[in-house]
Amino acid sequence: MTDTASTPEVQELDRIVVRFAGDSGDGMQLTGERFTNASALFGNDLATLPEFPAEIRAPQGTLAGVSAFQVQVSDHDISTPGDSPNVLVAMNPAALKKELHRLEVGGTIIVNTDTFEDRNLSKAGYDHNPLETNELDNYTVFEVPMTSITKEVCKDIDGVKPRDAERSKNFFALGLLSWLYQRPLEPTTEWIAQKFAKLPQVIEANNAAFKAGHAFGETAEMFDYTYEVKPAKLAPGTYTNIAGNVALSWGLIAAGQLAKLPMFLGSYPITPASDILHELSKHKNFGIRTFQAEDEIAAVASAVGASFGGHLALTTTSGPGVALKGEAIGLAVNLELPLIVVDIQRGGPSTGLPTKTEQSDLLMAMYGRHGESPMPVIAAYSPSHCFMVAIEAARLALKYRTPVMLLSDGYIANGSEPWNLPDVSTLPDISTTFATAPNHVDEDGNEHFWPYLRDPETLARAWAVPGTPGLMHRIGGIEKEDGTGNISYDPSNHQRMTDIRSDKIAGIAKDIPATWVEGDEDADLLMLGWGSTWGAISSASKRARAAGYKVAHAHLIHINPFPSDLGDVLSRYKRVICPEMNMGQLSRLVRAEFLVDVESVTKVQGQPYTAGELYDVIIDAAG
């Protein structure tokens, strides 16, 4: 790079929050991901929040079409994508209009001025050009003609028309931000080379735009400072930047290997769960059969069939899909066959907010079936945690011969964070055994296989798979006699079977860790959470403790059954506050179970809690 007359001063920051925003077609998700990845490889801690419209391509230039990606990059351990961005990259007027309110006062705006012309301004609902008024005076605004510079640097590339060149403008923005924040360039140029290996002119155009963005920062004499965020002091290990749905998929794949069973996925495409179907379909070499069924019901029904056949079977979906699968999950409860049901929650009811996050399926996971049909419910709390929670779901399903509901949500499904990769040899053995011989001898000395004879410890029934000589048996949704599994309408038998199914799931409490509590043991206030609110609660609690308040944080991974010490834990605090992205579902469960006066704090805006919002809750309560 050429030396310039006025090299900007480098300022060191402990963290930055950058928000990229543009039209759906502007490639903002990709730009954000590349910025994230370069930061991850540089060694920062980070957390991301992709936000995109449900429409694949809403009308160009409109507010509805704005797609954004927020990332917090830090030199220390963080757990959220940040409350207010320090920097907003706005590729068009709509992005500026829609996203400006999030920016911290005094924050930096980098705009692509080429798009600030009448048509786009009017589509965004501006009757004037905000860059020409004083309305942005509280911010530092950098006006950069990104489209025209990109077109200019691409004009001599063979086979790249101006219209094609324009599509590289996101790499210009990325180049500029990479310069401004001193990000390494190689991860991005290597990625471009790999991603577009078959399209040499696209590689050339993207590289030209990327370098032009970087050079613009260096030479434009517009910027007084560049910024540096040092690598975070994370625990030693090998890290990768992982998204929740990828971690969940890998956890499921690992579960199949740890169980030593072939796997079967029955699934039907649904946002935001489809990525798991895609990811598992890429890894058939692990012995995974993936089946895109004709509907949600066939997806779960095929998994039940594969489970009867001796596979580790699963179905992946979101809330509306779980609603459709309810009857078949009830069948799995009754058949007492292992099954993993993954629910990547989104805003509801009905189509709701399909690309936005919510935690509103908890009560459906617990009770959303006909009859008395208890099943374990567990929840992931962060993108990387999805890996271990998937293995836990498989462990419970196999050990207790039961369907298990695994809850994640759109926020952790699409968000990413650095993950200290586990040593594979430390992962648990979750293998199970199939019945291979008769397990009952009648009065006449004849041997039989009784499918509903149970392990006295776990109450799990014997699992004999088709193809095993001598163990032929029939199972079905009709109530069955304990032991033999034959149809039984006997009143006391139904009571007994209902009790057994209930006791079996309740007994899992003996087989799970104690409640996970962090923070001040002598606090009066306990923040109780589950699922993806972990980052915001944890971050808010730390901030409050740093400010001198006492607060503890309990976060539930197992929700049915609860950890056996949860009642004791709750009783140790004067106040228990439960923030949830629903109308108070966990708080109802806890109140009902423990008669504890849990205070519910709720948010259903399709957006995760920010740490700031929960910090305010904590200091209000503790102050």
Partner: protein, 338 residues
Amino acid sequence: MSEAPTTTKADWTSDQEPRWCPGCGDYSILTAVQLMMPEIGTAPEDTVFISGIGCAARFPYYMNTYGMHSIHGRAPAVATGMAMARPELDVWVIGGDGDMLSIGGNHLIHAMRRNVNITILLFNNQIYGLTKGQYSPTSEVGKVTKSTPMGSLDEPFNPISVALGAEATFVARTHDMDRKHMQETFKRAHAHKGSALVEIFQNCNVFNDGAFAQITKKDKRDEMLIPLVHGEPIRFGVDNEMGVISNAEGSAEIVKVADVGESALLVHDETRSDPSMAFAISRLASGPYQPTPVGVFRSVRRPEYAANATQQLAVAQDQKGPGDIHALLRSQPTWEVG
């Protein structure tokens, strides 16, 4: 999988007593299946019967095989999972007209278009039995039942036409009054690699007694059933005096052989890749009161789904080697923290 075992009917009979109404057509179908199984040279432990809900769906309980009585309409989907997971097994699907064509219609057509290796026995009695007598998707228009006191308004499905429209590779029809014909048809269906659908006219003597009597009674069969025999001109009648031709519009039409001459008759070819002629034949009767074709309408080869799905796993292993979790976790860019 066991080698062609020798079995008897008793080996295929479970210790559970059937609980169908006395006189139900399901008994004769059960007997036909239990008697046929020893002849196809497979083992009970390698056989799975999967059903949905309805009277017919109790069938698996009475077979001494592996079996699942699942939920209403979903048997083809459950069976698809079983057949994909365990392609070496014989998977049978049992259901009635309500189970398979109403609540489960979607699963039935998709199983057939995929050509999953399952043998589907569709017990068609043109009525809902287990819920005590409502009209079904195969009931005739104007059917007076508890739910249609003024007569049903819906046009019925012709299950054979539905199957042919859904790209089924094996489609046949038989009836519960002719054990030999049932067994021959079931054997053919079982031998077929892919989805095989057999519609069985089955009498519900409680809620729809005699629905098929006009065509299946012994003294009516010659006159009212049109046997489909591969490679033979399609003929029927007490003196074989009737036949079927393909007319100028491409429809199948019943004629007197004497009027057209034997050479004009349609020669049945169940292996035609185009299903149009089989469809035309399926339209000969609008209900069990007109001369009705029975036998194999269509039997064609097409790649089987579960075998292909299994093949993809083998190809993936050839290309990428066996799965390695350690390597998987490092398949994205990584960095070291010391």
